[in-house]
């Protein structure tokens, strides 16, 4: 069972060196314990471009698809037996990256 753990940034900006180090250690642990699938950090939504090619012609729009103070700053995709395991890992993820996280199951 895979879960997406989204990291939510509400204005704190880039990770500090301490946070980077803690995230690195947490990632190592995920790999060692078999929970690791993939993870990545994302740039702020400022340089995002939204593309809509449902019509005749692709329309490119500057900016994110939704304007909000909170945005997706990164994510983990983890392998976990059930929600309790996923929640325990996500809680540690929140601690080490010092941000709120959201857990959602893959279908």
């Amino acid at each position: 069972m895979q879960y997406l753990v989204s990291v939510i940034d509400d204005g704190t900006g880039l990770a500090t060196p301490t946070e980077e180090a803690d995230i690195g250690a947490f990632n190592d642990r995920l790999r060692a314990e078999g929970h690791w699938v993939f993870a990545g950090g994302l740039g702020s939504p400022d340089p995002a471009t939204v593309i809509d090619n449902r019509g005749d012609e692709a329309v490119f729009t500057d900016g994110p698809f939704v304007e909000s103070k909170e945005y997706l700053a990164g994510f983990w995709i983890i392998e976990a037996a059930d929600l309790d395991v996923a929640l325990a890992l996500a809680a540690e993820g929140s601690k080490c990256c010092n941000r709120k996280v959201e857990v959602r199951p893959f279908l």
Binding site: A81, D82, L83, D84, R104
Partner: protein, 410 residues
């Protein structure tokens, strides 16, 4: 057995066995919906057959077997269940009934699944009443004053989250257990309080069905976790509160305060059981939690033969202990009632007035304040406070009581 006896037996068996049947089927098929539907079908079959065939010697096993067959029939009919379930069907089709101990453990798993912290509190209450208590969706909707369709959606949504997000069907690990039990107790206390102080203009002031269900489920938890002090404390608290139920509302539907209740009308057996539990916890010497202290306060109240004999200094000492654990304004408000008895209404009023900022929207704040102002002879202010209390109170018996007190003011 005559039809009435059979009907009584079915009601009793429903209470005793519903959760066990649902739990057992959930383990086998890993699907709450299927378990619940099959359990309901099995009970419907019992209602049809038992009046003619008689109640079987082991109704729980009969129901589990019948429900299992119904579930397998359903899987065959639908034939679109996943491979895991087809496998379960093959594996367990002729499985003998589980020994009682293991099944009880399954009921506990069911309770912890329904009370998972990732579900909203409303969903936890609804699921617990539905899957563990066996209450129908209309009954739960009625108790919490929401539309049947709203409650139905709430339950469906919660069940879908359990399935899709894979909320585990198990008792939490030892390290998580205390925190998770606290959540279960909070759900049961909420159910009990809604029954004891039912809200809404068209609702009975006391919903005996809900208080009884909360007590029954807490007893179940106590059987499964006999060493947990807070479980014992909550059970004692509920029993000592429920014991006063009939004395608490007058023939005309008005609230009767503790001091004015006919103590002879209290349920002596419940009081005795509550006291026994409180003493049992005291004897362990382990520091009590919130529910145990609340139970002890109720034990002091129910020990006095007459309201005038109440040991208020003991009550206040317990509230002081409670404030250290839970410094909430509601606890501070209740503590002020004991202060009024010991140090007079003026001292108590000063303490209550300090809570105005946080409790201005809470009916009991105004009711308490009104009573203190009345005792101090400040009628005009008392009247205003009663008015505000009446406006905010959702319980019909309480509204009637406050209205009479207001109208009696000089």
């Amino acid at each position: 057995m005559n039809p009435v006896e059979v009907a009584d037996a079915i009601t009793r068996v429903h209470h005793e066995e519903w959760a066990r049947v649902v739990a057992s089927l959930t383990r086998r098929f890993g699907d709450l919906d299927l378990a619940e539907e099959a359990a309901a079908e099995a009970f419907a079959t019992a209602v049809e057959r038992w009046p003619a065939d008689g109640v079987p010697p082991n109704p729980g096993a009969w129901l589990t077997t019948t429900a299992t067959r119904k579930a397998i029939d359903r899987i065959r009919r639908e034939n679109k269940r996943d491979a895991k379930q087809r496998e379960a069907q093959v594996l367990y089709a002729d499985d003998p009934p589980q020994p009682l101990g293991a099944v009880d453990d399954e009921r506990l798993r069911l309770i912890f699944t329904c009370c998972h912290p990732s579900l909203s509190m409303e969903a936890r209450v609804a699921l617990t009443l539905r899957l563990v208590g066996g209450l129908t969706v209309p009954e739960i909707a009625h108790a919490f004053l929401v539309q049947e369709s709203t409650m139905g959606q709430r339950i469906t949504r919660a069940k879908a989250k359990i399935k899709v997000a894979r909320i585990p069907y198990r008792v939490p690990s030892t390290e998580d257990l205390p925190a998770r039990v606290a959540g279960v107790l909070a759900v049961l206390f909420l159910v009990f309080n809604e029954g004891y102080l039912a809200s809404g203009p068209d609702t009975d002031p006391v919903r005996r069905d809900l208080t009884a269900e909360a007590i029954r489920l807490t007893r179940m938890i106590r059987t499964l976790l006999p060493e947990d002090g807070e479980v014992a404390g909550l059970l004692a608290l509920m029993l000592l509160t429920e014991a006063r139920r009939t004395a608490r509302v007058s023939a005309t539907g008005e609230l009767v305060t503790l001091g004015e209740q006919d103590r002879g009308a209290w349920d002596a057996a419940m009081v005795a059981e509550g006291h026994r539990l409180v003493r049992e916890r005291l004897a362990t010497g382990v520091a009590p939690g919130r529910y145990q202290i609340l139970a002890a306060i109720n034990a002091v109240h129910t020990s006095a033969r007459d309201a005038r004999d109440t040991d208020w200094s003991q009550v206040l000492a317990l509230y002081d202990q409670l404030v250290r654990l839970d410094p909430s304004p509601i606890i501070a408000l209740n503590r002020a009632v004991a202060v009024a008895e010991l140090d007079g209404p003026e001292v108590a009023l000063a303490a209550v007035d300090r809570l105005e900022e946080t409790l201005a929207g809470y009916h009991a704040f105004h009711a308490t304040r009104a009573d203190l102002l009345r005792r101090l002879g400040r009628s005009r202010q008392a009247r205003a406070a009663y008015d505000r209390g009446i406006e905010l109170a959702g319980n019909t018996a309480e509204t009637a009581y406050l209205t009479r007190r207001r109208d009696q003011l000089a």
